[in-house]
Amino acid sequence: MIAALALSAAAQADVTLSYRFWDLNQAPAIEEIARAFEAKNPGIKVEIEVIPWAQYWTNLETAATGRNLPDIFWINAPNFELYASNGMLLPLDDRLAKSSLISIEDYPEALAAIYNYRGKQYGIPKDFDTIGLWYNKELFDAAGIAYPDEAWTWDDLIKAAVALTDEANQVWGIAAELNLQSGFGNTVHQAGGYIINEDRTKTGIAEPEAIEGLKFWTGLIHVHKASPSMAQMTDTEPVSLFESGRVAMYFTGSWNAIRFANNEYTKDRVDVAVLPKGKERAVMIHGLANVIAANTKYPEEAWKFVEFLGSKEAMEIQAKTGTVIPAYMEMTDLWVNSIPQFNLRAFMDQLDYAVPYPASVRAGHWQQLLVDCLIPAWAGEVSIEEAAQEAQRQIQEVLDSERR
């Protein structure tokens, strides 16, 4: 009897899965999901590992090189193909087909397609996000300016930013952050340009339309003086400036809604609107996926967790807590209404003209090169044209190498 008990205890030995991701703000919701999963699956434990965004990809690549990837982790569009094409991820098609909990049709086609490589599905979509114009109501009220709305154009934004800037008191109209997804990626497309073309053969970063989109930001810093300088934004991050009332406007994504809702300064003072119109309207859309490492010791258990992460229950938790927009279209309203003081509908209203976050086999790499080239232009050391030319050269080199 005792032997039997001992045997059964050994058979039920706990499997511990490691789940790695980068957004600390999402940790509470994910903890909730993990506990719900563990309750339904005794014998499996999920260990959560948060690596800050700044270190995430280096960390992951080092782990991958050592065949030491966490069992399950987040992946995004620019980095997906690097991992998929090098056999780092577990293909999920068979298990997906047999699943009673989820099916690939549950998710928006565009999102699922991002995480499909050469006909095999490697990632289960988790969420999607767009970018919004966050603004500080208190600062707008004090200056007597009307809040941003759907009618706003680039000129409206520039005018307001200039009016809201009070350099003597270290308050600026907007933080011109150097960031592809939440910054210039949007304005480049709003000016009618593009970052890379659809078949990833060419980059348009040095073309006149893209240059205009880039100049939107450097103009705010150097011409209109309505933004802190690159040096100032390095000393103190734009998001910190926004959260202490030093900038009145800030472009950032829907994923920060929960952060601003929890922050004691921003929770009652800020709101969000759709991005202003340039020559056209455009906004970067992106979505993350959960993937399983090819070297995982527990593929069955890992799949069970990924399946659960992609299920209605997990999506509901993500939406209700206001954490992120779930990859289940019928639940997006839950998210929109989860933080009533913010106009979260603004993120959904832009879906019609959304442009996908550029991806290619080595997108993570050339996107870093692009930022490296633009840093001196943001700092005012070189002209945008020069920086863009250099960026175009370097990006093209990488794109060409992908095709070989």
């Binding site: 991958a64 690097l82 090098n86 150097l178 000393d235």
Partner: protein, 297 residues
């Protein structure tokens, strides 16, 4: 006769046994890696750690890599800026502490505090002090009417800022070594000088410093080597996306970027070998020069 042989064998047995762990560890984790580094410097790396023979491609790249040479220049500026100043200040503090004053151990503790503080934490605090808009340094300067510079984001000042932190955190360490060195100087010299009527100043320069030169030599060699390898300060205070990274990047930081951010371990190995050669050369030069200025009793 056979007894002696047996004793010798027994001796040898114990000797080898007692050095075995250290020897094995050194061979496996230092000597073999060094050899492999030489090999890796000639390899080309692809995604996720796959590599192949690349010939001299890394060294050719090194010749044309202006960023590398700039980081070498940065490292030299940093070393020249922080080592002499740090040593001079440590000697002064040690000398002051060596006069029979009360509270000597309290001072010693306070000056040593930065040494026991993790470099990452030191860098973090100073990063906050140096913050151009909200940091304490510029606040204090503003209160006396000076508009302080952008310590960490202005290329003209960034290196100076790093040097200041380096000196600040190393004074305590070297001070302790110099104190010990000072206490090793025989009192007789000072007594004789007192009788001759020499002032404290003269005594310091004619007796103390010359007799301290062996310690100064040791501290110089170690400080130079460690300054050349500066990494944490730049990693924490500057960071890859800072506008001044090109102006402050040290050679070890560049090495780290190539090896573990850009994942090009072949090129990074070549850089490591370059660093090795430079440090070797500098140390050899120092040893040669010591005859000129170091007084051994």
């Amino acid at each position: 006769m056979s007894g002696i042989n047996k004793k010798k064998l027994q001796d040898w047995f114990w000797a080898y046994l007692m050095i075995l762990p250290t020897l094995a560890g050194t061979l496996i984790f230092s000597i073999w890696p060094l050899i492999q580094s030489f090999y890796l410097a000639f390899t080309k790396w692809g995604a996720f750690g796959s590599y192949e023979w690349g010939g001299t491609v890394n060294f050719e790249r090194m010749l044309g890599d202006t960023v590398l040479w700039q980081s070498l220049r940065n490292t030299i500026v940093y070393t020249v800026g922080s080592v002499p100043a740090g040593i001079a200040l440590s000697i002064v503090v040690a000398a002051l502490l060596n006069t029979k004053i009360r509270g000597m151990s309290t001072y010693r503790t306070l000056y040593f505090l930065p040494v026991v503080t993790m470099p990452v934490a030191v860098a973090m605090v100073w990063r906050w002090l140096y913050n151009a808009d909200f940091g304490l340094l510029n606040h204090m300067l503003r209160s006396v009417g000076i508009e302080g510079p952008r310590w960490l984001t202005d290329p003209k000042y960034a290196m100076l800022s790093l040097i200041i932190v380096s000196v600040w955190s190393s004074i305590g360490y070297n001070m302790v070594i110099f104190l010990s060195g000072l206490q090793g100087i025989s009192k007789q010299y000072y007594e004789a000088a007192d009788i001759d009527g020499a002032s404290a100043f003269v005594q310091f320069f004619r007796i103390t410093l010359p007799l301290l030169t062996p310690t100064i030599f040791f501290v110089t060699v170690t400080s130079l080597i460690s300054a050349f390898q500066v990494f944490e300060l730049i990693f924490t205070m500057i960071g890859i996306n800072s506008p001044v990274i090109r102006h402050t990047q040290s050679i070890v930081f560049y090495f780290y970027r190539q090896a573990f951010v850009n994942m090009d371990k072949g090129y990074a190995s070549a850089i490591a070998l370059l660093l090795f050669a430079i440090i070797m050369a500098v140390t050899i030069v120092q040893f040669r020069l010591q005859r000129r200025w170091v007084h051994y009793e």
